[in-house]
Amino acid sequence: MKLIGEKGVTKVLMITAFSAISILLLIALFIINEGLPFIFKYGAGNFLLSSDWQPHLNKFGIYPMIVASIWVTLGAMIVGAPLGVAGALFLSEYVPRTIMRIVKPTIELLAAIPSVVYGFIGVMVLAPLIRKNFGGPGLSLLAASIILGVMILPTVISISIDSILAVPQSYREGSLALGATTWQTIHMVTIKASKSGIIASIILGLGRAIGETMAVIMVAGNSVNIPHSPLDSVRTLTANIALEMSYATGMHRQALFATGVVLLIVIIILNSIASVAIRKRISKR
């Protein structure tokens, strides 16, 4: 790097950052470009607020899917976020480092298991369990939330562990020396000092939960139905796209991309709510 000097490095970094961000922007534009015209043509109201999805009759109403996406994501967060953060806190504050160092990579293994495998486990184990114990078809909002909740665990746990470990030891010492228990230290100092990383972990987990398709398709049941209970079968926006994309042409295909645009908006809204909500919770004290 000597060759190009500090100014050169700055420029290289800037260009890299700029290109990375433009690629990501390009994706957003790609979706919007493919989907937005349809929304204008079909009418945003009809598209967003109707519950009638019958592509072969050119009826494209995605209201139930919007509702379902929000519920499933919420459900996944309720299952995954507390479990993940709790696990991260326990592994980094109560468990010897050597054990943590084996458990963490093992948990990250969960991230590499293909989502189809999760889907099969959902169909073969979880859905029958739900059906037997609570009734309904088994393939349901509940099943999807649980499977997604499990799928985001490695993201939440790993990133949280790192940010908790980055909290200076002197904060812990300061707190313990004042007679705090480990838990008091965690809850009054550690969580606060690692706030930013814990939030990032939850937001990235949220991203994974919203964006997951294969597993959701397999366990959510995919009925185009406004859910009235967690045991109802639901179809999420992502599932809708992935489910029908392989046979969709013409108008139908455009409608699926338009679903993508709506998904993007839902993601933006959920992300904003999540970051505000988590930030509030963590920095309340």
């Binding site: 078809p137 398709i217 109802d232 392989s246 013409g250």
Partner: protein, 243 residues
């Protein structure tokens, strides 16, 4: 020409494994040809045949959409659609009308068709799917009930039905196994003989799509598929011959 010719097939995930097997065999006798088989679904098959990303598109649709009109379509195989229930279910036969009413949501309990007192779980394929279109066209007048479960592949339909004693679904008859039970439809067995003889009505075609006319290596390969050897391969693994 000289050297290696390469062909790409893309599209229907249901036909992909068959295409792979056919390609494998074809290449052993024609070492100067390389055939690559890609999935992606029927829509990708049509698109990539149009764009030239693949020379041959694979589609398992019943009627080809607008985009495919310009392509030369050849039916290379047929697929029987079996109506399946869980082996625990005592029902062995349903009429077309009963099937229609079940999928439309008019009949919601197995006892209405002579089974046990248990709610029916309907499992269907996704909108647009070839299996579903043919199922709906042949049974006629189907407006799928809203809370029907949707799965997007033969394999997942099979798992779902195998795991839910009250469910009913349909899938490619080549994938029948002991975990699920195929029903008679209007008294007709879902067997190869019965399908080939035309007694069993739920059948759908599988297309290969080519831009322009069939010529050169493309034609040779399609001819091979339609040859006796090719058709036997298809038959052996659960699809039905084109004619």
């Amino acid at each position: 020409g000289k050297g290696k010719t390469s062909l790409t097939l893309a599209g229907s995930t249901a036909f992909q494994p068959f295409a792979e097997k056919l390609a494998e065999k074809y290449m052993t006798t024609n070492p100067n040809v390389t055939i690559t088989v890609q999935g992606g679904g029927s829509a990708v098959g049509i698109q990539s045949a149009n764009s030239g990303a693949a020379q041959i598109g694979m589609a398992d649709l019943v009627t080809l959409p607008e985009d495919a009109k310009a392509l030369t379509a050849t039916v290379v195989a047929k697929d029987g659609v079996a109506i399946v229930v869980n082996p625990a279910n005592k029902i062995i036969n349903l009429t077309t009308d009963q099937i229609r009413d079940i999928f439309n949501g008019k009949i919601t309990n197995w006892k209405e068709v002579g089974g046990e007192n248990a709610p029916i779980t309907v499992v269907s394929r996704e909108a647009g799917s070839g299996t579903r279109s043919s199922f709906e066209q042949i049974v006629t007048n189907i407006t799928l009930k809203k809370d029907a479960l949707i799965q997007d592949s033969n394999g997942t339909i099979r798992e779902t039905v195998a795991n839910d004693a009250n469910s009913i679904g349909y899938l490619s008859h080549g994938l029948l196994n002991e975990k699920i039970k195929a029903l008679k439809v209007d008294g007709q067995d879902c067997t190869v003989e019965s399908i080939v003889s035309g007694n069993y009505k739920l059948v759908r075609p599988i297309f290969l799509l080519v831009k322009g006319n069939l010529e050169g290596e493309i034609k040779n390969f399609i001819d091979y598929i339609l040859s006796e050897e090719g058709q036997n391969t298809i038959k052996k693994d659960g699809l039905l011959p084109a004619k």
